[in-house]
């Protein structure tokens, strides 16, 4: 046996990437040969793609409902059809991500408030049919003369009530996905739980506003532009606050793939919001700004997702915050 003997597992300087022996007690942590402690989620691109598409669907339903009630048929159509497309994609991504896709329906066995995924399933099950009914009405109205046929007339007339209910039930779809990520032991997701819902609804508003600017007639895009700018501002401010409150677990948001995605998200979102503000009556600038906001939202979701995965793979982000609590004499304990 001629292996080199190394001290307690592996000691590593905090912030450094190379394994090294160090005797500075508060600048190092110990692990079992550098192995991860918590496991990263087994989720792949389906889940961040769903985070984006779910938010896009929710924001689009809100825009469609508002457009319907304020007499903007073009924006209504863009919103309803955008919502159903994004929702269909979401459902496909969610089923595809399962280890046993054929058992998707088991999600409906129970309603469990301690499981954000169960809560999310029921949120989607409430919202989905109304979003679908509103989209069906929109499609019927696209066919000339279809409204004269009995059943189709019914579908068409249900468009407004269904669309309004879809709008009212949409915001939880955009917000719960933050809880879905945060309610884990993944360090960079859990530590973000206070601000992440606001980052995600901001991102949803920016994306759906962007889609509206891209697809609705120019004279009707005002509300979409307002929502997009408001969303971009909320996302940018809350993302900054989030990073400041996360301590060491904010690091993965700046490193590697996640870091590149978060930087791209910020640039695209700010550029898209600025473009939206300056677009005026220019269809081209509005469309480009809308596309930038959509791309920014995609990058935000993938960036947050990847940062969490990276934080789970590195024992540093599990050990250091917990060790710091212990060394301050503040372990997490139940106190009456």
């Amino acid at each position: 046996m001629t292996h080199t003997v190394e001290g307690q597992g592996r000691r590593r300087r905090r912030g450094g990437d190379r394994a090294e022996l160090s005797m500075v007690p508060d600048a190092e942590f110990t692990s079992y040969y550098g192995h991860q402690i918590v496991k990263p989620s087994p989720w792949e691109a389906d889940i961040p793609a769903y985070l984006f598409a779910g938010g896009l669907a929710a924001g689009s339903s809100l825009l469609a409902a508002g457009a319907d009630l304020t007499g903007r048929p073009g924006l209504r159509r863009a919103g309803r059809l955008g919502a159903i497309s994004a929702l269909t994609f979401s459902m496909a991504a969610l089923v595809h991500d399962l280890g046993r896709p054929e058992r998707f329906v088991n999600m409906l066995r129970v309603a469990k408030v301690t499981s954000p995924m169960s809560v999310g399933t029921w949120i989607l099950s409430t919202y989905g049919p109304f979003a679908a009914a509103a989209a069906a009405a929109e499609l019927v109205d696209l066919v000339p003369g279809a409204r004269r046929i009995g059943l189709l007339r019914l579908v068409s007339s249900l468009g407004r009530p269904a669309g309004v209910i879809a709008g009212v039930t949409a915001p939880p779809v955009a917000a719960y996905t933050a809880v879905l990520l945060a309610d884990t032991s993944t360090p960079s997701w859990h530590a973000a739980y206070r601000e992440l819902p606001f980052v995600f609804v901001g991102s949803a508003a920016a994306a759906s506003g962007g889609l509206g600017m891209l697809t609705a007639p120019t004279r009707e895009v005002g509300p979409a532009r307002n929502l997009a700018i408001g969303g971009a501002v909320l996302e940018t401010i809350m993302e900054r606050r989030m990073e400041r409150s996360m301590g060491i677990t904010a690091e993965p948001l700046h490193a590697g793939k996640a870091g590149a995605l978060m930087r791209a998200a910020k640039s695209l979102t700010i550029a898209g919001a600025t473009g939206s503000l300056l677009a005026g009556r220019s269809r081209t600038v509005a469309a480009l700004s809308g596309a930038a906001l959509l791309a920014g939202s995609v990058c935000t979701r993938f960036g947050v997702f990847e940062a969490g995965q990276a934080s789970a793979r590195d024992p540093k982000y599990t050990v250091v915050p917990q060790r710091e609590r212990l060394e301050k004499g503040e372990p997490v304990r139940y106190r009456g």
């Binding site: 046996m1 954000p116 060790r323």
Partner: protein
Amino acid sequence: MTGRNSLFGPVDPAVEAGYQDPPPRKGFFTDTSICIGCKACEVACKEWNEVPDDGFNFLGMSYDNTGSLNADTWRHVAFIEQRKPVDGDGAGSRTPVDLGMPARHSRNGHEVQLPDSGTDDDKPDFRWLMSSDVCKHCTHAACLDVCPTGSLFRTEFGTVVVQEDICNGCGYCVPACPYGVIERRKGDKATKKNVGIAQKCTLCYDRLDAGQRPACAQACPTESIQFGDLGELRERANQRVAKLHEAGIMDARLYGNDPDDGVGGTGAFFLLLDEPEVYGFPPDPVVTTRDLPRMYKGAGTAAAALLAGAVLSFLGRRP
């Protein structure tokens, strides 16, 4: 049933889950100070539970080629080589010497004479830590809390078990676990069972039903793995720590035995000879659902903000 301590704090998990007059809570006390690293527990577990191989990997570190608990490893023996005296007096590293062989505990004196140790001290400066890790069967089990299908459930013994015919492989339990225990099984559906489904230790639920000890505890030759009623195990563990402290092994400490800790205490707890993270344990784990009410509140506020923002977007002058 929901009570004050449903998400956090000391509670009897079987009663909390709704069982009337459940049997005493069962658990493991793994005393790592007498683990000899034989891996009989790993083998017995695989045999009894038909757990497939985990790849026959060579990890190139210590004697551990299993690495960690995962879908295909429900007992995992960790091997830690340390430049520390066997009695762990905390002196830390001294002049490193390649001993070529692991040091051994002597039964009484805690001093081992090693050939050519090269130090002027007669205490050995090298020790092995070995520890058999397993699912903790937490009082507040995050995996169970977040499971959206009800596949993960609490047994009458207070343990946490996956119903493999219900699990749809959503994978939520995997990042939820603060210890990194549960995992979705990967591989070829034709040659492995339960591929795509969350897998972990069941505390041999089938054996418990028949009044038997779990396979790992049955196979352990040194009784490092002790199975029994949790209350009794906790008492026994306290006595053992006191005895080790008396013998001068001040590094001995319990991990997971405190019902007030971040997961409400674990059904499987440990006697360790170093900090938890040395063995690959989180030093101060907390069940993520402790913060869930605050998370929902934040999401509710955010959702309201989105609705309000959408309404505001339609106000104002029309062009």
